[in-house]
């Protein structure tokens, strides 16, 4: 029997979700064809901002990979824009000539960004912010740094501004209204947000009306109506969106602002449905995913014969700018029939305002602390009377006692299919089942296994409530995460107490801080050992048995129990005599593999443990020291050829890299530390994804930090610009010491920086001379004991027992 043909125009988030629901409910019911004007699969459009800022890559935001289409037998025409619908013949035709007939058609064309038709709006360099192509164009221009002007300080405009700033551009936002994000924020919250963005280096001009875009062959700037002229290499227009309804209109389907649909998402033509931002339901066009997903579920139901109805949605907004917490929902205008509750905490930068009407929350604006957003939103959506908790309402959910008011009761009452995480479409049942089946106890685990709250994070509160319902007292969201099972204290507390109580040995720490085990475990012992080495460099003796094997034998253990050996090649430089020595060692010890590492040096793999001291002895004769490829300490300083050879080099990047490596190897750090020095912004040493990086420029050295290119990928942050090599070294050393003193064991710099705050780090290192020098001196002190080549120490006999068996039995003889 031939199946009914379902054709979908547009491959965005709304139809993606609808098809997921449809395939779950009625797999194989339809023969599905999708047309997508974009040349790609379905991706998470709301995550474009993290892609623009460099915090995520396109691959991270794909919703349906190629497999998904294949597995569900969906035909996807990529880069195929539908140009016409023939409702009589029941066919659609794309610009590339493909014509397909349908039994049922879903129009899901999304929105078009609105471009203000001022003079110059068609110049190259004037961009919208809607899809991946736009992001790629922005990133392309941002490569040359330069200036960006963003028109419109709404959600999209501000996210674009933040992303471009992160890409190193000089960014100005111009906004027509007196306050920013005026549709979502009241003036008080808008003020705080504007201040926070300004502190991040984004210029904001309000009450600014654009008169023209200037430029001859491409954008050069913007002229405002008050006569001001702003220079810019790029203009991003983020002033609003219009439902993409032209196609439907031409086909004679009823269109108002959007394509008019009923509660079953059906248009004026009973074979045609509209879904997503292009649709208009009861006079409203939505521009956020949550309501679209609600209607997607209804449409899926209808397509398999159900009678689901969509009743409209209340929406909330979050701004995805790292480090800024903002939540807004509902209606917060003032009025005689309304009351408001406001909480301000100036030092903490917190502002919360709830608007009540008839004893129910109708609006909420939260700035600085947004954890309770979902809870307020839930109370608002369900129109719960708040009389009894009015006094403590503003303090949030955790202040609500008593059974009747237990907000968990509401969550507990939700049906299993209630959606908790809108971004990833995870329902309550799935979360609860996974928690029980897998025995999950932490939020991170739940995120890892279910993806719930792993995207924008706005449902974190709900997920925590579910965990609390499922796990009972075993779950306490406010608890500090203990270091390990041996203590209830977290890393920060332990570090603080070691200093406060002057604890100088592992047993002293365990005794004073009431460890629950007699001698710790493989998690806490290495951490304590590090904290003590760092805090008491000249007094504490390293506890050898609390080190991971690699650090005990100064080589990396391999899967078969053999070891690999990586000598230092300072700044990636080597010579014929070094290479010859390596070749000789490889031959002599029959080392099975030699590899150039990702860290600009050479790895010899598969060495027997017993051979290590002899290998090191030979390498030592050629002048090699341990590359500490195993250390929680300085690993490599990658360099490029710089002024020595390169026609673009602005400074001696190789020399600086070598100098840093020679100065800084030795002292242990909380986690491994990798650096890079590039001779110019072309950045061939990849310095902008390192823990610490330097980009040499004509005027000096731009110091970067907090990059990541391992489990997470993240571009660096700029610490600041210094003029001389000496200063560069001093600032880098100080930064490293600050991290050494504050980082949690195994916490890379980017995670520590996130916890500590970039601005605080910049302040202490760049502007507080006394602090900086203090850090520098303490590092130098620590180096006195730490800068001893571990290989030569062992060649001269240290830890001999490690490399030899205790005895070899002649069993044949004994038996």
């Amino acid at each position: 029997m031939s199946r009914e043909k379902l054709v979908v125009i547009g491959n965005g988030m709304a139809p993606g979700r609808m098809l997921e629901e449809l395939f779950e409910k009625a797999p194989g019911l339809y023969d599905v064809t999708i047309f997508n004007a974009e040349p790609r699969v379905n991706y998470d459009r709301i995550m474009l901002s993290p892609v623009l800022s460099g915090e995520k890559a396109y691959e991270d935001i794909i919703i349906h990979g190629d497999d998904w289409y294949r597995d569900h037998g969906v035909t996807l025409h990529r880069g195929a824009r539908v140009s016409g619908i023939d409702r009589v013949a029941k066919t659609v035709t794309a610009e590339n000539g493909i014509t397909v007939s349908y039994d049922r058609l879903v129009i899901a064309t999304g929105s078009l960004p609105f471009i203000i038709p001022v003079p110059g709006h068609q110049l190259p360099g004037v961009l919208a912010y809607r899809d991946l192509d736009d992001v790629e164009k922005m990133l392309d221009i941002a490569k040359n740094k330069g200036k960006a002007i963003v028109i419109g300080a709404g959600l999209l405009g501000l996210e674009a501004a933040y992303g471009l700033k992160r890409q190193g551009m000089d960014v100005t936002v111009v906004h027509l209204m007196p306050t920013i994000m005026e549709r979502q924020l009241d003036p008080a919250a808008a003020y705080l947000l504007e201040k926070a963005l300004t502190e991040r280096g984004i210029n904001i001009i309000t009450k600014a009306d654009t008169k023209a875009i200037l430029g001859t062959t491409r954008v050069e700037g913007v002229e405002l109506k008050d006569g001001r002229i702003l220079d810019g290499d790029m203009v991003v227009m983020a002033v609003g969106i219009r439902p993409a309804s032209a196609l439907a209109k031409e086909a004679g389907v009823a269109v108002n602002r959007g394509i008019v649909v009923d509660d079953g998402m059906m248009t004026s033509d009973p074979s045609i449905y509209a879904l997503g931002e292009c649709a208009e339901h009861r006079g409203t066009c939505y521009g956020l995913v949550a309501p679209l997903y609600e209607s997607a579920r209804v449409l899926a139901d209808r397509l398999c014969g159900g009678s689901g109805e969509y009743g409209g949605s209340v929406v909330n907004t979050k701004l995805k700018v790292t480090g800024i917490n903002l939540f807004s929902a509902g209606d917060f205008a003032e009025g005689d029939d309304r009351e408001e509750i406001v909480l301000r905490d100036a030092t903490a930068g917190v502002y919360k305002r709830l608007v009540l009407k008839n004893d129910r929350i109708i609006g909420a604006v939260l700035y600085g602390e947004t954890a309770d957003g979902p809870w307020y939103f839930d109370l608002m959506k369900r129109s719960v009377p708040v009389t009894e908790m009015r006094d403590t309402l503003i303090f949030g959910q955790s202040y609500q006692g008593g059974t009747t008011l237990d907000p968990r009761a509401a969550v507990a009452a939700l049906p299993a299919e209630a959606e908790i995480c809108g971004c990833n479409g995870v329902c309550k049942g799935k979360i609860v089942d996974t928690i029980s089946a897998k025995g999950l106890t932490t939020l991170d685990d739940v995120r890892a296994h279910t993806k719930a709250s792993a995207s924008c994070g706005s449902c974190t509160g709900l997920v925590e409530q579910l965990m609390s319902i499922t796990l009972g007292d075993a779950f306490n969201p406010h608890a500090v995460k203990p270091m390990c099972g041996c203590t209830d204290l977290g890393h920060s507390d332990v570090r603080r107490l070691i200093m406060a109580k002057q604890l100088k040995t592992i047993p002293a720490v365990m005794q004073e801080l009431e460890w629950k085990t007699s001698c710790g475990c493989a998690k806490c012992r290495p951490a304590l050992n590090y904290y003590l080495v760092c805090d008491w460099p000249d007094e504490y003796a390293d506890d050898y048995q609390s080190r991971f094997i690699n650090e005990r034998v100064h080589a990396n253990i391999q899967k078969d129990g053999t070891y690999s050996v990586v000598p230092r090649m300072w700044g990636g430089m080597t010579s014929s005599s070094e290479l010859r020595a390596i070749a000789d060692v490889v031959d002599k010890f029959e080392i099975p593999a030699v590899k150039v590492t990702g860290g600009q040096r050479i790895d010899m793999l598969g060495i027997r443990k017993e051979d290590l001291p002899a290998v090191w002895a030979d390498l030592g004769k050629a002048g090699f020291v341990s590359g500490q490829a195993y250390a929680k300490g300085l690993r490599t300083v990658k360099t490029c050829v710089g002024t020595d050879w390169c026609r673009f080099g602005t400074q001696d990047s190789t020399g600086l890299g070598i100098r840093i490596e020679k100065f800084m190897w030795g002292s242990w750090t909380p986690a491994k530390l990798k650096m890079g020095v590039s001779g110019c912004p072309r950045n061939c040493a990849e310095a902008t994804c390192k823990d610490i990086g330097v980009i040499c420029v004509d005027s000096g050295f731009e110091i970067h930090f907090a990059g990541a290119a391992g489990l997470d990928i993240k571009g660096t942050e700029v610490l600041g610009l210094v003029k001389t090599e000496d200063e560069a070294l001093e600032y880098i050393v100080a930064l490293t010491q600050m991290y050494r003193e504050q980082g949690h064991y195994l916490e890379r710099i980017y995670k520590w920086a996130k916890r500590t705050g970039l601005d605080e780090i910049r302040r202490q290192i760049m502007t507080d001379t006394e602090k900086r020098q203090g850090y520098y001196e303490r590092f130098v002190l620590s180096q006195k004991v730490a800068q001893v080549d571990p290989w030569s120490e062992r060649v001269s006999g240290k830890d001999k027992h490690e490399f030899k068996p205790m005895s070899e039995l002649k069993l044949e003889a004994a038996e």
């Binding site: 007699s518 012992r525 609390s546 899967k559 129990g561």
Partner: protein, 105 residues
């Protein structure tokens, strides 16, 4: 394996093994890891993690267990059995202290 089939072997002195550490004994057919705990108890296990044969002698010793250096399974020194959610066991051998550490096979 009956007890009378076994005999004791002198493998060395307890002072050869670092506290919370291990040394290896090679038997010709296998490697045995001899562990010494913080309170000077001595245990012997085949130097082979039940997970993927990691050398347990290279792990961190804590209380009565060793954490395997390859993927962090925790193995009981006394029974050789994996702790927690992991399943599996490695061979364990009785050890006798007579001022010296002995292991038996």
């Amino acid at each position: 394996m009956n007890t009378h089939m076994k005999s004791w072997f002198d493998v060395g002195s307890i002072s050869d093994i670092p506290r919370r550490g291990a040394r290896c004994v090679k038997t010709g057919t296998m490697t045995v890891a001899v562990f010494r705990t913080a309170d000077d108890k001595v245990f012997a296990l085949e130097d082979k993690c039940p997970h993927r044969n990691g050398p347990l002698s290279q792990g961190i010793v804590h209380d009565g267990c060793v954490t395997c250096p390859l993927h962090n399974w925790v193995i009981s020194l006394e029974t050789g059995r994996a702790q927690g959610a992991d399943e599996g066991a490695t061979l364990s051998f009785p050890v006798r202290l007579e001022g010296i550490a002995s292991s038996c096979r």
